[in-house]
Symmetry: C2
């Protein structure tokens, strides 16, 4: 029986984890696949002379793409340049590719899935969202009988760690970010995490998968958590909410999709508000299943490797079966509703001399709002939650209000 | 292109939900399968003259098994007699079978999976555990690269509803059971739910799947929740625990499996303790992925149908591919450790005259125990949590203690 040969491209955190987990559990993996399996090559431009896998290290991509014995390649190099070129060429050569590369799937998923289908091989990316949490296959398979009404989740562990520290320990955003960097949860340049760009890529993947049409990152509004203050955290707590960075996609009544990444006030009764530290969770609402939730470590060496190795096994086991889905490419963003046209309730904090005296005009604008207190609230501060209304209409009101007050903070509710 | 023809056996709660969901979402199901699909027959011995599907109702099983156009059959009739015979004959005829029938999978899974493999068709049972919650496929596919250390969960919605009412509203077990029956969550004869028999079947399925060897229900110790009192609930709360009926299977250091269904004290820091009402949740620990958790409605018409329809789609889409797993049959229970030989910590409540005076001998027996208080604890009552030790050794101590006290309650910790 032909050995199931695998190549790994990129020997960084995820790549080395993939090799480690594969070698550790090789016996049971071979049992599941039904034949011997091997990691034949590891491609990396760097040298790893002391690695136990030094004998398999190569630097030339062509060795992999030209080797007829390679069935599956794990692309865990990340980014869009090399990874895109490599993936395309591998799929065109009929080799299945599995990846944790959310940036590439979000930017080129439709195209790469089409190439895979045309060449009867697979492009799988369970590891691209939620690290080791099973979410792509459950959405694509287990929940396939549902009309999916909404997918929303905590898709970025770094920001969830920071928010947890702010909420639980009253740490400032800046201090919490520093701690995250010290613990290796945040990069030296944390922009992609804290500004919601990483979560944006992930909600694009989930939305494209569920709704069958490629949602590109540039179609999705995102805002991050760097503007959130401990005052906001305290007001939220007092009103029975936690603050989480949420990526969400849902079907609107007009048939378009509402997609956005932003901080949200999440009611304590919602399990998402109990998801702390670097954990991720994704909630899915379907017309059949109701609400289901998937929870676990959304990043890290071995959790991400767990998903990569799962995809490798599936490809090796079903070598000549096209398992992967496809979604249509999209030429315009017509199918996405502008986020300002979507309805939401909004937490608002304002500063004004004699803030209390503005209550009358706030009520006039919004109708019934919910005012929130905090211990030692200064006279010039007021915080409230608006009713559910179109965000553009909230903006009009806040614009009027801004003639007599500074809009210090606004955070959408989930 | 050949129509993907489906038959449904059993038009009860799950069967009618399956037909309803399939018809409602037929357009997107056909898109996913890649060809037209139809429910050609619905088999039930009862008459449904007013059903919109009356034209497809049949009473003769042979019509289905002899119809070459039927590719997939949903067996949602339940039980072991008809269902076993039907499933065997369908698989032998090369037709894939999908089911929500946990009783049959737990009793005959190894045999039926073998027959499916021999006849190049599939036997899928995503709906048999956790209702609509994706758990079988994630365990079998997404987490396939892991060495699974433990699976444990709240597998029965009825008992979780009852325990939630006891904990949140101080309702007695009897009253909570009555309420569950009024709400349609518990059957007139609730034995299978409240004594843990339903959860026992489910943990057998999960354990067989993960560890590759059939765990039969009679190999698994089970105890239910009918003995739990409000006093126990109060002590548990005061010590920072909730009480949940937990099915669990784990790999022990000696290589054997520890499998058991019983009420457990679950620490509030564990997400399982936040899973309330009729919801189910399953926590999986793998050497790669760490802890992941799956949460949702564990029963009910449409949630269960969601899983059945997902399996139907998978079978129709991959008509000539064997997707389903197999596990070995087991001839003896050698690979299961006797539950008394497994280590656990134990909550114990005792009654004795001058209970307080027994503390010295309790400490002598167990070493350091944690005593728990409750408001108005009577003088003749004492509650404590033992250290982690072999259950047989706990029994020896409690047996000694029973000379001077009545052992009123004991509940294992998670």
């Amino acid at each position: 029986m032909a050995v199931g040969n695998v190549a790994v491209i990129g020997f960084g955190v995820v790549g080395s984890g993939t090799v480690e987990l594969f070698e550790k559990n090789r016996a049971q993996i071979e049992k599941k696949v039904g034949r011997p399996c091997d990691i034949k090559y590891i491609l990396d431009l760097r040298d790893f002379p002391d690695s136990p896998y030094a004998d398999r290290m190569i630097k030339d991509f062509d060795t992999i793409v030209n080797d007829k014995d390679i069935e599956v390649v794990a692309e865990v190099v990340g980014g869009k340049t090399f990874a895109y070129d490599y993936t395309r060429r591998l799929l065109e050569a009929g080799k299945s590719v599995v990846t944790s590369n959310k940036e590439l799937v979000a930017a080129k998923g439709a195209e790469l899935l089409k190439i895979a289908k045309e060449h009867s091989c697979n492009y799988l990316f369970e590891a691209s969202v939620g690290g080791g949490i099973p979410i792509i296959r459950p959405l694509n398979k287990c929940l396939a009988g549902n009309d999916i009404l909404q997918v929303c989740g905590i898709l970025n562990g770094t920001t969830n760690f920071i928010l947890t520290k702010m909420i639980r320990e009253q740490m400032s955003f800046e201090d919490a970010l520093k701690l995250a960097q010290q613990n290796g949860y945040a990069e030296a340049d944390p922009t992609a995490d804290i500004e919601g760009i990483d979560a944006q890529r992930k909600i694009c993947i989930l939305g494209s998968l569920v709704y069958g049409k490629h949602i590109y990152p540039e179609m999705v509004h995102h805002s991050g958590i760097s503007g959130i203050t401990l005052d906001d955290v305290e007001y939220a707590e007092n009103a029975g909410f936690g603050i989480k960075l949420i990526g969400s996609v849902k079907k609107l009544e007009n048939g378009k999709l509402g997609v956005i990444v932003c901080p949200r006030l999440v009611p304590k009764s919602n399990l998402l508000s109990s998801v702390d530290d670097v954990y991720n969770a994704i909630a899915v609402t379907g017309d059949g299943v109701g609400d289901v939730l998937f929870y676990g470590r959304g990043a890290g060496k071995l959790p991400t490797a767990s998903a990569v190795v799962g995809d490798i096994i599936d490809c090796l086991k079903h070598q000549h079966t096209v398992l992967s889905l496809t979604w249509e490419d999209s030429e315009s963003a017509d199918f996405i509703e502008h986020y300002k046209q979507v309805e939401t309730a909004m937490y608002v904090r304002i500063n004004a001399q004699n803030a209390e005296s503005l209550k009358a005009s706030v009520s006039e604008m919004f109708g019934k709002v919910m005012y929130i207190e905090r211990a030692g609230r200064p006279d010039n501060e007021l915080a409230f939650i608006t009713p559910v209304m179109k965000e553009a209409d909230i903006d009009v009101n806040l614009n009027n209000l801004s003639r007599s007050a500074e809009i210090a903070s606004k955070i959408r509710l989930l």
